[in-house]
């Protein structure tokens, strides 16, 4: 029984156990005496029973295959029953050996993966510190988010809190008109401060309409917004030529599909 001590390692399945037994025989898989291996395999299963271990179904299926091979080989060839039309029947030995060879290759491949896995633990990618640049050249401008925008328009709206907010007189302005006037303004002055757009506004309504006009122009990629630096006042400028070219393609999108994603295409400039 002493040799069984080593056998109680965990096998990953019946093929794994079979490979282990073949290896112990120190012969090539193709030359192995399957009858002998079958006997050892079944002994192992019996031993597992003795020790009351759970035997997975796969082990039992394999055991019966092996029993079949064993019984077949014990019979002289002429006594083996070959049912009609079964001459071409797969030799069970061949099938089993084919599977063993294939499994062994993958087991070897797994071992190589494992080597790579542990080798990787010793390899560190270079993570450089961020290079710093002197003030020469343009510093990337901070893109502006929808939070910034809403926040900015809020602070402008506060100017009107003293007036009657729920005023009844109708708005003199439409979004379309404001778009026109912003476009005119930005033709003469390529960079505008955000607050400059609203200096002439006299009512909350006008501030809101101006704001919507600005959003629309950004969506149409006629203008971009950004900040010279974090916390600085937002600036508005004419969109660079390549963005104007793109605008033709998606200008037809209805405003209702607008979302925060599209509000700051200025981000990368």
């Amino acid at each position: 029984m002493s040799e069984y001590k080593v056998k109680f390692e965990i096998f990953e399945g019946p093929l794994d156990l079979l490979l282990h037994l073949v290896k112990k025989e120190e012969v090539d898989i193709h030359q192995v005496n399957l009858t002998k291996i079958a006997t050892q395999f079944i002994e192992y299963i019996d031993l597992m029973r003795v020790f009351d271990l759970d035997i997975a179904g796969e082990f039992l299926v394999m055991a019966s295959t092996l029993m079949y091979i064993k019984s077949r080989e014990l019979l002289p060839v002429e006594q083996q029953v070959v049912a009609e039309g079964e001459e071409e029947e797969e030799d069970p030995r061949w099938e089993l050996i084919r599977r063993l060879v294939e499994y062994k290759k993958f087991k070897d491949a797994a071992a190589q993966l494992q080597e790579r896995e542990s080798a990787q633990e010793h390899i560190y990618p270079r993570l450089p510190g961020k290079p710093e640049f002197a003030a020469d050249g343009p510093v990337p401008r901070a893109p502006v988010s929808v939070f910034d925008l809403v926040n900015a328009v809020n602070s402008i709206l506060k100017r009107f809190t003293t007036q009657e907010a729920r005023d009844v007189y109708e708005d003199k302005w439409t979004v379309g008109e404001k778009i026109e006037s912003i476009l005119t303004l930005i033709q003469t002055r390529p960079v505008l401060k955000f607050s400059e757009l609203f200096v002439t506004a006299t009512t909350r309504g006008e501030v809101i309409v101006t704001f919507l006009a600005m959003l629309e122009l950004i969506r149409l990629r006629q203008m971009v917004i950004d900040q010279p630096e974090p916390f600085a006042e937002i600036e508005i400028r004419i969109a660079p030529p390549e963005m104007l070219a793109e605008s033709a393609t998606d200008a037809a999108a209805p405003i209702a599909t607008e979302n925060a994603e599209n509000i700051s295409p200025a981000a990368t400039n």
């Binding site: 270079r126 290079p131 988010s145 929808v146 939070f147 926040n151 809020n154 916390f231 979302n259």
Partner: protein, 233 residues
């Protein structure tokens, strides 16, 4: 393996310049943490030996004439790229300042966390009506939100809050500066009986901070925001 090679490997992996003294300490610390002979042999390397090896190494890199050099600034050593490559590196650094823009679901989730923090994942999902696993992962990875504790309810789920990076990302000085969103604060979150953390639907920000803007302005179409305002008025 020479001292020089090890110094090179360390400085190549270091994120900041290192002085011979810091390198000496690194050798001593490594010697304690490993069984490896070479590491133990270097335990008491002298600062002078390190300095000499660094000079030699810098000479080697000078002669190799690659796109980077080993230089000593204010007594600390580091690898730096050659100035003529600045245009590309500047673009590289600039690009990285801001990773890809946040998706709409991420923005919405972030807005919910910002206004309702601290909040559990289940509560977020209840407001958004969908699972937020992927989105939360993104927000956590980008350091825009963080785990800030455990809710005192069954299962002790994690609570999430925004981070200082969140403020930085949106250019906000503080959470108070966020555009007010009455709607968002008002949404009732239904919790299972046993899971009551606080008054359901209670906002974290004081009511006086709630001004004009609302959730529509954050996420929906501007025209919708206006019509909403008009309806209210």
């Amino acid at each position: 393996m020479e001292l020089k090679n090890i110094l090179e490997a360390v400085l190549f992996s270091a994120q900041k310049p290192m002085s011979p003294k810091e390198l000496q300490e690194l050798f001593a610390l490594t010697a304690e943490q490993t069984e490896e002979e070479i590491a133990r042999a270097l335990k008491k390397t002298k600062q002078e030996a390190i300095a000499t090896a660094l000079e030699e190494l810098a000479g080697e890199h000078e002669r190799a004439a690659r796109s980077y050099r080993l230089v000593c600034v204010a007594g600390s050593w580091q690898f730096v790229s050659q100035p003529e490559f600045a245009p590309w590196i500047r673009t590289l650094v600039g690009q990285k300042q801001r990773p890809t823009r946040l998706s709409q679901p991420a923005l919405e989730t972030l807005a919910i966390i910002a206004y309702r923090q601290p909040i559990t994942r289940a509560e977020i999902e209840q407001i958004r009506g969908v699972a937020v696993d992927g989105v939360m992962q993104t927000l956590l990875e980008r350091d825009l939100v963080e785990q800030s504790g455990k809710a005192e309810v069954v299962g002790r789920p994690s609570l999430y809050s925004t981070t200082p990076e969140f403020l930085e990302y949106f250019g906000l000085r503080s959470l108070e500066e966020m555009p007010a969103a009455d709607e968002l604060r008002r949404i009732q979150v239904q919790k299972p009986e046993s899971l009551v953390t606080a008054d359901p639907g209670l906002a974290t920000a004081p009511p006086e901070a709630l001004a004009e803007a609302d959730i529509n302005q954050l996420t929906a179409a501007p025209t919708a925001a206006v019509s909403e305002r008009e309806n209210k008025g």
